[in-house]
Symmetry: C2
């Protein structure tokens, strides 16, 4: 039996290093208050969310029903489009539902981030606000446990009849994630109990048994949320429901096909079942038959995360194999170098193998986050540094790029190449924004970034289920506490990631006897993989055994209070090519250092970045020719001001930039040259390209950007 591991409870891990602590501060001070205003429709100039409005309307309706002592008589269901808006945005009807069908999740994502934030930053005012919001949300719950304001307000006669499109189980999943986080932060059970009641209602309605619905979520998340609920409450029944959802998905006859057929019949339309139509939902075939990561990338990432959770708990070889197969497909054929996924805007989806366009990329922030979820769950199944390499890349590059350095504007789409004129004038790129936006009507990415940044330390450490080993997956300054070898152990990590690979981990043991346990440190691919083991030393100690396995250095033995492990992971600049089957990267190179992918911006390198070439042969001959330099990066003007959401503050950040030997094609006023001409040798001008970390792009106004340079 493999030894699985689990994350350290959030309260037992802190992050204090300059890098992540400041990201968490941004979220705590900027994003969470903004979110609260947004979901209460209090952001001047932004489209109202109507999220709390909906909960209040549902709560009022419930109260009315209960007062009258009548049994619940729902309004008759009428579908008003995927986004229902009031005639007068300022005066919504107090009884009506508004917003997307998944609008409830605006609250759930906020309460999840709040939970994480309160864990380490007690804030009585925020907690009181959250408690009041929870009261409203719980008041909206029906007596049977059902809690989705869309159907409560629009007509319960149709609830659970359009699982494919109507997100009830998605809302449940987010509610549950938020409820667990808030419970773990505060110990308050009210929302957790509501989630449990909703879960039990769902369990009473779904299953393989005769008379139950054989369905599953149209947008996954319930699977992993249920496992989390099971692990927070110790109740196996929630994990069983997750397992049912994972196994039932895509079974014949296809449930979404049945739903669609029924709807077509009701509307007098003809219907032909085509399983391909359900690929978007990962519901065209059972997961054990899925060989390729396909469909909507966020849905897919959430599903694979739930799959991994269920596979870990059940240890079903077929499910474990499915995890590994889908992981391999993503990592070998569908992953951007920035840790992003989703090559096409069509369905915000995985494209086909090796189709990774830079300029029309979708690479949604949420999809990178979903990939980090999946990666951590793969680590929980089996610690293998590749999982952590991908997770780290997704976190440091695409996830962080999703948010401006001032925390006030966000990317939904994270391209690897941008020419602003093309974004403005080429409708094929109309999804690609050259500057971050303030907030979105469909606000999935900003709160998703908020919730993963606020608990990023849960991605740094896991502890083996037998409490023998603590794994350090990410090198992040802070503390991690766990019971290891029967003793309370605190690891006090100092790190300088992502700028430098050196640091230390000091062991604190608060026990009479020195406990025996293992500390396993990841050997990142960027540091040379297993060769990097030699840069990790236990200071002044003998008797600690060293073993390298699956990209981790296992240090085992009896530990004393004050033992210190020092590490000095090499962080060379790497010049990287893509597999030749990636057409869009042919003849190009990218530069990375540590976990960071770098990019060239117009602000440093001038426009027409397609004429800038890395001097690859020069660089290859002289490995030291690319110079890292620590600078203070002056950010500002990161945000679109269309929505008039206030001025952008200047935000400076200490970071390492790269100076890369390069050359530019010299063209004299090309706009006066003919469109086609006889080939002539390129005139070159030597230049030094300045590359900045990808996560920091688009913080200095609008301009060209490219991750890959021509070689």
């Amino acid at each position: 039996m493999t030894q699985h591991s689990h994350p350290i409870a959030l309260r037992d891990a802190t992050v204090t290093d300059a890098f992540w602590a400041s990201e968490q501060e941004l979220v705590r001070t900027q994003v969470i208050p903004f979110q609260w205003n947004a979901l209460n429709d209090n952001v001047p100039g932004a489209a109202p969310s109507y999220c709390m409005h909906n909960f209040k309307a549902a709560a009022a309706q419930n109260a009315e029903h209960r007062k009258e002592g009548k049994s619940f008589v729902p309004p008759k269901y009428t579908f008003r489009g995927f986004e229902a808006l009031p005639d007068d945005p300022k005066h919504p009807d107090p009884d009506k539902f508004y917003g997307f069908v998944f609008q409830d999740t605006d609250f759930s994502k906020w309460i999840e981030a709040v939970g994480y934030s309160l864990t380490h930053h007690p804030d009585a005012e925020l907690e009181a606000t959250a408690d009041a919001a929870i009261d409203i949300v719980c008041a909206a719950q029906l007596d049977n446990g059902y809690l989705d304001t869309y159907y409560i307000l629009n007509g319960m006669d149709r609830h659970f009849t359009n699982l494919k499109d109507h997100h009830e189980l998605y809302c449940f999943g987010h509610l549950t994630e938020g409820a667990v986080a808030y419970y773990e932060a505060t110990g308050k059970r009210k929302l957790l109990d509501a989630a449990c009641r909703f879960a039990d209602y769902i369990a009473s309605r779904f299953g393989t048994e005769e008379g139950k619905l054989h369905g599953y979520p149209g947008h996954e998340i319930a699977e992993m949320a249920l496992v989390r609920l099971a692990e927070a409450t110790g109740e196996q029944r929630f994990a069983d429901l997750a397992e049912y959802f994972v196994r039932q998905r895509g079974q014949n006859p296809l449930y979404f096909g049945k739903e669609d057929r029924k709807r077509a019949e009701q509307e007098g339309r003809s219907f032909t079942l085509d399983p391909k139509n359900y690929t978007y939902y990962q519901a065209d075939k059972p997961v054990t038959e899925q060989t390729e990561a396909l469909g909507h990338a966020v849905r897919a990432g959430y599903f694979y995360s739930g799959l991994a959770d269920v596979a870990r708990r059940t240890e079903d070889p077929a499910l474990l194999e499915a995890c590994e197969r889908l992981w391999r497909n993503i990592v070998d054929k569908k992953l951007y170098i920035t840790g992003g996924v989703g090559g096409t805007r069509m369905g915000e989806a995985f494209s086909f193998n090796y189709d990774l366009p830079n300029d029309t990329a979708y690479s949604e922030s949420c999809a990178a986050i979903a990939l980090a979820f999946f990666a951590r769950r793969m680590l929980e199944i089996k610690p293998k540094s590749e999982y952590a390499d991908v997770m780290e890349s997704a976190l440091y590059n695409t996830t962080l790029a999703g948010m401006a350095l001032d925390g006030k504007s966000f990317f939904y789409v994270n391209p690897l190449e941008v020419v602003p004129e093309a974004c403005h004038r080429d409708e094929r790129k109309s999804h690609v924004k050259p500057v971050r936006q303030k907030w979105f009507g469909c606000a999935c990415c900003p709160p998703n970034i908020a919730r993963i940044v606020e608990d990023v330390q849960q991605y740094a450490y896991t502890v083996a289920d037998d409490a023998s080993t603590m794994y350090v997956h990410l090198y992040m300054g802070g503390e991690a506490t766990a019971t290891l070898g029967g003793a309370q152990v605190r690891l006090d990590v100092t790190a300088n990631l992502p700028w430098s690979g050196n640091g230390s981990a000091v062991v604190h043991v608060d026990a009479a006897d020195d406990p025996r346990f293992t500390l396993a440190f990841r050997l990142p691919a960027w540091a040379g993989g297993e060769d990097a083991a030699e840069t990790i030393a236990v200071r002044g100690r003998s008797g600690i055994s060293r073993e390298v396995k699956d990209g981790y250095l296992y240090l085992s033995g009896t530990w004393h209070d004050g033992d210190a492990i020092t590490f000095d992971l090499p962080m060379p600049v790497r010049m990287v090519s893509a597999n030749p089957l990636v057409r869009e990267d042919a003849g190009k190179v990218a530069f990375t250092r540590g976990p960071l992918v770098y990019c060239a911006e117009e602000a440093d390198n001038g426009g027409n970045l397609h004429l800038l070439h890395a001097d690859v042969n020069g660089i290859a001959v002289d490995a030291g020719s690319v110079k890292p330099e620590e600078i203070v990066f002056h950010a500002g003007a990161s945000a679109q001001n269309e929505q008039g959401l206030g001025e952008v503050e200047r935000t400076d950040m200490r970071m390492v930039v790269l100076h890369v030997p390069a050359w530019r094609e010299v063209t004299e006023t090309p706009e006066h040259e003919s469109l086609y001409h006889a080939w002539k040798p390129t005139r070159r001008e030597s230049v030094v390209a300045t590359l900045i970390p990808y996560f920091a792009w688009a913080n200095r106004g609008e301009g060209e950007m490219t991750v890959f340079l021509r070689d």
Copy 2:
């Protein structure tokens, strides 16, 4: 005053060379009969056109009204969508209109091609069929001259109320083009008279005068059709109407804005005028203020053609300047090397300057044809070889690529780079077909190709309005007869284009006195431009003056019967780069020879064409290293068989292919390599790339293709 020129009447010019004569045969024997079946809904497996059905229905309705001696009482208008189809495709309601709003043009384009065909291939049966069709069409005309079956059948109460979208003036334009062609071929006036009556009705309704509609066509063509009608009939009033349409277009207040506002009011929608919404129609501002070719590329090309016609006749400097300005923008910034235009599928439109993607190109066959229309009209204003260079490229490359070598299948979209998997799996490229299709529901391209191929000789010659000069714009085997210097002169041309630049033009003068006139031969850019003048000689003659001007060699003097001009235009292989501002072509080269652009196909070069590089330095050092070779090209399997339109015949063609020194990146089973890896020098394998003419691509089944090779 500039001396303008005009094309030689079709009956006075023949084409007999192996190349174009066989293209015309294809159209005559394959396309025209197929078209007739298509517009009579007689193509098994293809979507019915309902074109003749509609004319019959309208004719029957007219007959009914006339029989009853009543004034016309139209049905009340109901919009049934842009494509109205019967419930049962096989049993359409005999009284109803079906198809697109412009379905009438299926007939008009057919009759135009028939006219051209009959000019040189009398065919009593075809002519009888055409006459019978004309009888039906004319019977559909209302007493007031109006003739568009969409409104005649759907409700005349709304005719001319949606010029922007509803194509009435477009249908008029095509009808007129067809009517003139048929009249010139057969001398029969029936359809011409119908067109004149329709034109007069339009003139009675449109104009700047109070009480008239101040509108203009939503899809241009009426402008050039009216000038043609004026020149065929000698009636200035038709040219005046054309001038009105050209000048009125885009004037404030915007007419389409007024239409849209009115419709919005009727439907209770709000409306905000945004001129940008009319850029698609070239109707956002007056043509004299238009500085960039924008919007739907076919509309634009037709409009610029009509503009050039009107500019030529009025000699208005502002209109002439607009022609030149729009021409320059296209040729300097928006033209594919293949003579195609339209960089984006969004609106099938011109993209922004220098945005010429190869793989997502639209480059509609009809847009290249429209560009040839425009170019010939620019030549009529002033002979300048650049116009003919572009016209020739559009004809030989994109126009011909639009049709399979067997004449049985067609491209709507003409990409410069195709990876079939991307076409099938990447919805961004879903408009790009890797193999030609049998016929289209919206069948614009096949009949458009038919009509331009059948009268291609009208693009080869023009005669100065003062009958002093005959211009040879294209070198095409055949005869051209005109009155020059007071005598009937026949030029008998032998040519071997596009494979070789040699040939002769023998002068036949049937007059007592030797007349004085000028023969002006174009000096193609591909032959070295004006330097090529020296390869053109008047055999054994003196007393003929030679002058080179604007890329033409003017041979002037007294000519004798039997005088022969020989030409031997150099046809070197050219390695061509695009302007560095064309991002998609950066670091790439294309190969051309004579008027032909070449491409690499998977059938000759294997797949993964992005790994194939032209050895540009080797080629540049040894200009002779690219070897042209004459081969017999075995075509076949050109057509998609989805619609089951019959078997594909094998079609062989003698052509010149190019053998280009190249190298391939050597990759060992890249599908087993990681997605990203440290850069390493490329391993190269020398190969010889075989390039075929672009027009012949996709005649050997499905495979990759690229015009540009990496350098």
